[in-house]
């Protein structure tokens, strides 16, 4: 018993003097000018960026000891499956819920993903991606005016493979990493190209594959990709985004010839 107490005491002593330094890019409103603010917090074992932000919210005092407004951020699942807490940490976009403080050099710099419109502090508006999902028809249409019955079966091995593509959580990290997603282009981004591949793979989804290909063969589509391959490096879910893009390059090449040389039946 006493031994355990000593261990706890030792750890408390070790961490008592330790602090964690943060530099956070803050922005009060969507239109106002961003500014950096420094924070210094007491270190706790297994701390992550979200728990540090919660600490700041509890006691919004900056490193100069001045009272400030709590930092705003977005979060939801806290287990890296929703994508809401994505932000740029020490220059790299990622989810802040899995960003353990121990793994970063200090000061830990937090910035919003400025590829998207900033709402406040670290909160961005990713509506562009959700609109793009509608554009590419990222669903499998199953409704008719009568019972359409069962769809074609999906081979199990194909399902297992497609599951990897379906891990995309529309977090926006690949768009933030891509040099060609910016205000000078309309590129819908790597994630969306991969979603076209996912839904065109599904046996029922494939019944509308030419419509999805048509959307990525238009403004902001697949040719905006410049093959920097940052997306596949940045993706937190390990989705083979560059393979998806190359596969859709091939599919659009075939569709290009189909469109030009003519076929009155576009589905297969």
């Amino acid at each position: 018993m006493s031994e355990q107490n000593t261990a706890v005491q030792e750890r408390e002593q070790q961490t008592a003097q330790k602090t964690v330094r943060f530099e956070i890019l803050r922005q009060d409103t969507a239109e106002s000018t961003p500014y950096w603010e420094k924070f210094e917090l007491e270190y706790r074992p297994n701390m992550n960026v979200i728990s540090a932000l919660m600490e700041i919210r509890r006691n919004p005092v900056n490193a100069d000891g001045e009272k400030t407004t709590p930092v705003n951020w977005d979060m939801n699942c806290l287990e890296e499956v929703c994508g809401a807490c994505s932000m740029v940490i020490n220059g790299r976009p990622r989810q802040s819920c899995t960003a353990l403080v121990d793994q970063f050099t200090q000061p830990i710099r937090l910035e919003p993903m400025k590829t998207f419109p900033v709402v406040r502090d670290l909160i961005v508006d990713r509506e562009f991606m959700f609109d793009s999902l509608k554009k590419i028809k990222a669903w499998v249409p199953i409704d008719g005016t009568y019972d359409l019955g069962e769809g074609p079966r999906m081979p199990e091995r194909k399902r297992q493979w497609a599951y990897e593509l379906s891990k995309c959580m529309t977090c926006g990290v690949c768009l933030e990493a891509c040099p060609n997603v910016n205000d000078k282009t309309d590129f819908i981004g790597p994630a969306l190209i991969s979603q076209v591949r996912l839904f065109n793979t599904h046996p029922t989804g494939a019944m509308n594959k030419d419509e999805r290909l048509a959307t990525i063969m238009a403004d902001g589509g697949i040719t905006e990709c410049g093959n920097s391959q940052n997306c596949v490096v940045a993706c937190p879910k390990g989705i083979p985004l560059t393979t998806s893009i190359a596969a859709m390059n091939r599919a659009t090449s075939v569709q290009l010839f189909k469109n030009f040389f003519g076929s009155d039946h576009m589905v297969d």
Binding site: G91, T185, I222, T223, N227, N230, M248
Partner: protein, 202 residues
């Protein structure tokens, strides 16, 4: 400036970079290499190329029009990118940026190169070994031309890699990696051929 036709223009840009512009570059560097066999060999080769039948037609449709489209559309592409090699220092991201830098540099280099040779020919000058030897009396020009040749071979070799991805020929990471090695080999071989030819005039 994005439009519905962007897809077709981008694919055309990718195709023209290899056929005919890339093939023309390889042929140009090989013909230049005659200079290593002396002034007479170079002049013979240069006369042969300059006196091909329908030479004006060939020049416009195999070189000038495809090259101008590739160049001007390429400048637009280059300036729509927001490079981020500080954040992502990977090989491919560097290639992405270098492809754009060499492209913009080549527009300047090729404009100067055409002014100094083809336009002077149109104005009555003789394009031969001596013309190039005169140009290379200036050491700055030697450096400028070597930079131009290496930028061109890099842009072609890396562009070949991009072409194969853009048209969906290489999909798997493995095939893309193997083509990377092939493109590095193409870059080295074409650079040696090109630079040897330049040094033959010095």
């Amino acid at each position: 400036m994005s439009r519905e036709s962007d897809f077709y223009l981008r694919r055309l840009h990718s195709l023209l970079g290899i056929i005919p512009v890339g093939l023309f570059l390889a042929q140009h560097l090989v013909i230049n290499h005659f200079a290593t066999r002396g002034a007479e060999a170079f002049n013979n080769a240069s006369n042969f190329m300059g006196n091909l039948p329908f030479v004006l037609f060939l020049e416009w449709f195999v070189i000038y029009i495809p090259l101008m489209f590739h160049a001007f559309y390429g400048v637009y592409i280059a300036f729509t990118a927001k490079n981020n090699v500080q954040r992502f220092g990977t090989f491919r991201n560097w290639m992405f940026m270098l492809q754009r830098i060499t492209g913009v540099f080549l527009v300047i280099f090729i404009a100067w190169h055409i002014y100094e040779t083809r336009i002077q020919k149109a104005l009555g000058a003789e394009v031969d070994y001596n013309m190039m030897a005169n140009i290379f009396e200036n050491p700055f020009m030697i450096a400028f031309y070597i930079a131009g040749v290496i930028a061109a071979t890099f842009h072609l070799a890396n562009g070949l890699w991009g072409f194969l991805v853009t048209w969906g020929i290489t999909q798997s990471p493995r095939s893309q990696k193997i083509v990377t090695y092939v493109s590095i080999a193409a870059f080295v071989i074409l650079s040696v051929i090109g630079v040897q030819a330049i040094l033959a005039f010095v």
